[in-house]
Amino acid sequence: MKPCYCLILLLFLGSCISVSKEQRAIVQQFAVNTANFSTLPEKLWMELAEIRELRGIYYANSFTDPFTHLNELNDIVRERFSNDKVPARVRPVFKILENYANGLVSLSSDAPAKANSKLYGTFGAQLETLTGDYNQVTEVGKLPSGLGTLLGETLSLGTNTYLSNRQYKALKRYVNQADTLVSCLCSEMEKYLSSELLVQLIANEDSGLGESFGFYFAKRMPPTIESERDYIGLKKRIVVLKEFRQQTIEAVKKLRIAHLALEESLNETKTVKEIAATLCGFYTEVERLYKMLNEINNKR
């Protein structure tokens, strides 16, 4: 079911069920979408690495010297296994967001406390470690700490079918305290995704693609239909990749606004109806990103 329909259904159900349960469902849906979203931006770097690898094979085939050819192929393999496709500074940002969202999923879950008890201890600790590590490697953009500890304490309270008043307060506290963290994470993500360097890296693959294939074709005329298909496929992937970057920036912006709206709803300064459009905006962006990712996968 589409996220927007889910939200409308929740609003309808909201009139029949307790406020706490309705809010928990809203938080749950937001958390699931955020957790899904947190795994998407890194696909940008993965896709860039894959395009680089494929054009590298054609580049290697433009050499006449077999040893240079072999060296290039070996270097492609080495690069593939270097495990550094996502920049070291960017990776923790997505991981922290994923951890926060997973904590939120557990906290708003209606599953019995015992079912998730093993996870409870790890989420908080992981979140705290990741935030600490990130703060150590960056000179600017320090992330607020302490949320992991709070999560650990809060999750140990357990969850029930109906959200108890105590848990509702805990959830509210967790979301309230996380707002600064989410805001900082969004700023960091936006900074990396809008950076001139990332634009240059994509542009470098775009022009490198034309050059690699240009020399391959110069050596092998007429080219095979397969190589022509590869070229067209990779060119299309670059176009989608450029759009994917823009779309991810939009989603990050909507995430920040949506989290703020969620906080306002839990603080009861805004009703669920009032924040519905804002949350839907974020879910739609995530949905679009998934569609683009499918498009990329289909072009492989």
């Binding site: 050499f63 470098n204 020399f215």
Partner: protein, 109 residues
């Protein structure tokens, strides 16, 4: 944040890789010269790879190795063919830029 003009470096390096291949195409060069030029192109390709992955990483040793290999090949090219003088100028520039990158990375490590 490391301050360096990666745009010039990346573009220049990629362009030089292909300039070398342009030089080879349709010219009656000795197999040794072709081999040397292709090797240089491949070293530049590795340099491009390193810079692409250098988003914030410190790759001084790898960068130094590539830079040294590139320097030796540029010298060799200088000796083997006068036709390639323009390309040698570009390569010298790249070797210089690589040296600057290493200096910056050493400063911030």
């Amino acid at each position: 944040m490391i301050k360096m003009d990666k745009k010039i470096t990346l573009e220049e390096i990629r362009k030089a890789q292909y300039d070398i291949l342009v030089e080879i195409t349709g010219k009656n060069l000795s197999s040794e010269t072709v081999q040397s030029l292709e090797k240089t192109s491949q070293h530049l390709r590795n340099l491009e790879r390193l810079l692409v992955s250098t988003f914030e990483k410190k790759l001084i040793v790898a960068l130094k190795n590539e830079s040294m290999a590139l320097n030796a090949l540029t010298e060799e090219m200088n000796r083997t063919s006068e036709q390639l003088s323009e390309l040698t100028v570009t390569l010298r520039k790249i070797v210089k830029i690589t040296g600057q990158i290493i200096d910056i990375l050493e400063l911030v490590k």
